[in-house]
Symmetry: C2
Subunit: 326 residues, 2 copies
């Protein structure tokens, strides 16, 4: 791809002029082709100075999660090899489900902004422009539909590891699908799938991370936060996106090859739910108990006051002391 | 709908002429409008004689599963109220999955012919033109994804009851999704779904019935048959379609309101699998045993030679003596 080679070349020489002649020779295309691509890049937000004698100088890259900006940090073999970027979209999970059967395993869809971002159980997810990571990963694992719950866990530990790497802030998993920093939510995961009764067609893992967002509406202030707000420093969205995908591929492969038992200790170590009092709301009512562990299926084991142990595979779980459950 | 009222009126007076004047008065539209609609109906295969003085006479209806021809036999409250008919399609399940999130619960898609009909586990399903019922029903139940297996059973007993009603031939269910007459397959059911981990978005139940088909390719002759071939009489596709949908709504409502326990005795009574030796092929290998019963989850209980009882929720099940398993 000429475009990608041009960007790499400009980046390697960032802050310095390179002549059109040199670019043309290095990339083996005409100076007119170079000029056309430079103009395209300028339109997309690359700040490039042109000088009639000196040539072109890259001043800065756009703060966009386009492939050219994320891929230098990617070390994956299949996740993100097919990468679709949108400035705005209704929901990356919606597009993912539309195209999933026609695109390769590991396809990533990422948007700067979602106009109708979704959370679990039909709830909405605020996805403001340019401040977060709003993405969906399409996976086609050869597992049973009832095992797909494990993929939410695989994604959750991948996000936790990536945040630790890039943001150095303690963050934990509120079972099954939220990432918590200082008792508030920085990330939610929405796993959806298409399946036969005993065969998965595809899974879509939606991951929304509040990275540099700070403008939360009043009703979310007790519940939502961002990495920037909690650490007082800006986090590189590009590196964080790549790190989530790198970790996801690693833990996904581990899970497929070795089973959930190899993932489970990390899920338990990184859980903010275990050991605390929780409330579970499900179709038929609610129950209160203490979260004890995560079992070999990925279910949450809860002990009631009467000492009865229950295995929770679904339902809406509140943890006392987190978000708005006091 | 003028069109439907016109058809009903013509059918009520089938074989007799009705004047354009009378149709125009009864249906409260101009004679030109009547004339236009009559021409449309003729194009769709209705044989209608026109006489400059006597008016119009319906001679015969087309053998098509269009709404106007099936709905007179429908007694449902919601299944089939939204009804999409295609002369040809790749697969009714494919279209169903594309539109499911935008159409009402109970939407039916039916085609005269499928160019790429599908069975379970990615297999193909022969769906020749005009001889069978190739349809998909979209349902949006408030149940857990792991319970969707029960809907295959609900559909299976609905087909069995409908065939008993219309064709008076003994037919039974090869767990979980085939209907068998004289040791060969007359119907297959393919249930697919879109879900979150703990919430179904929608289920698509694909039902393919070989009704009046007789032209099976050599490699299917040991396995597939049709109602016509087994009974030596033509079965009315329109009535059978309606009866399947009527039964489906009844048993679906029963299942949702009262649970699988109310469906289970019928599944057991109509099973051709129970009591026989079976072979189950799954990812890791195969096992042989005797099918004992269907349990309260809808799983097949199998007893091995060593007397061990296993619960089968998935996998590829062959029954000794059926199809090509000797």
């Amino acid at each position: 791809m000429l475009r990608q080679r041009l960007i790499r070349f400009l980046k390697e020489n960032k802050g310095e002029y390179i002549s059109g002649q040199k670019l043309s020779e290095q990339l083996n295309v005409s100076r007119t082709a170079i000029w056309k691509h430079i103009n395209e890049l300028k339109n997309e937000g690359y700040q490039i100075k042109s000088h009639h004698k000196l040539g072109y100088k890259l001043v800065s890259e756009p703060d966009l999660l386009i492939y050219e900006e994320v891929s230098p940090y990617l070390t994956t073999n299949f996740i993100g090899k097919n990468y679709i970027h949108k400035l705005t979209i209704d929901s990356t999970n919606n597009l993912a489900k539309e195209i999933a059967s026609k695109v390769p395993d590991g396809t990533v869809i990422i948007a700067e902004e979602q106009s109708a971002g979704r959370g679990r159980l039909g709830r909405s997810w605020l996805s403001q422009k340019g401040c977060g990571i709003w993405m969906s990963v399409i996976l086609k694992p050869n597992i049973q539909p009832q095992e797909a719950i494990n993929l939410t866990q695989v994604a959750a530990i991948s996000v936790v590891k990536a945040i630790e790497e890039l943001s150095h802030v303690e963050n934990k998993i509120k079972w099954p699908n939220d990432i918590i920093v200082n008792n508030k939510k920085v990330c939610g995961i929405l796993t959806e799938m298409s399946s036969e009764i005993d065969k998965i067609n595809y899974v879509v893992i939606g991951i929304g991370v509040n990275v540099n967002c700070y403008n939360f509406p009043e009703e979310l202030k007790g519940k939502a936060t961002s990495l920037n707000l909690e650490t007082n420093s800006k986090v590189d969205r590009k590196k964080l996106t790549a790190s989530i995908l790198n970790n996801l591929e690693f833990y996904y492969n581990t899970y497929l090859q070795k089973g959930f038992e190899y993932i489970r200790p990390i899920c338990i170590a990184k859980s903010i739910t275990i050991g605390r009092e929780i409330k579970v709301i499900y179709n038929e009512g609610e129950m209160v108990g203490k979260a004890v562990t995560i079992d070999s299926n990925g279910s949450l084991i809860v002990e009631t006051k009467e000492g009865k142990r229950l295995s929770i595979m679904s339902g809406d779980v509140s943890v006392r002391g987190l978000l708005d459950y006091i």
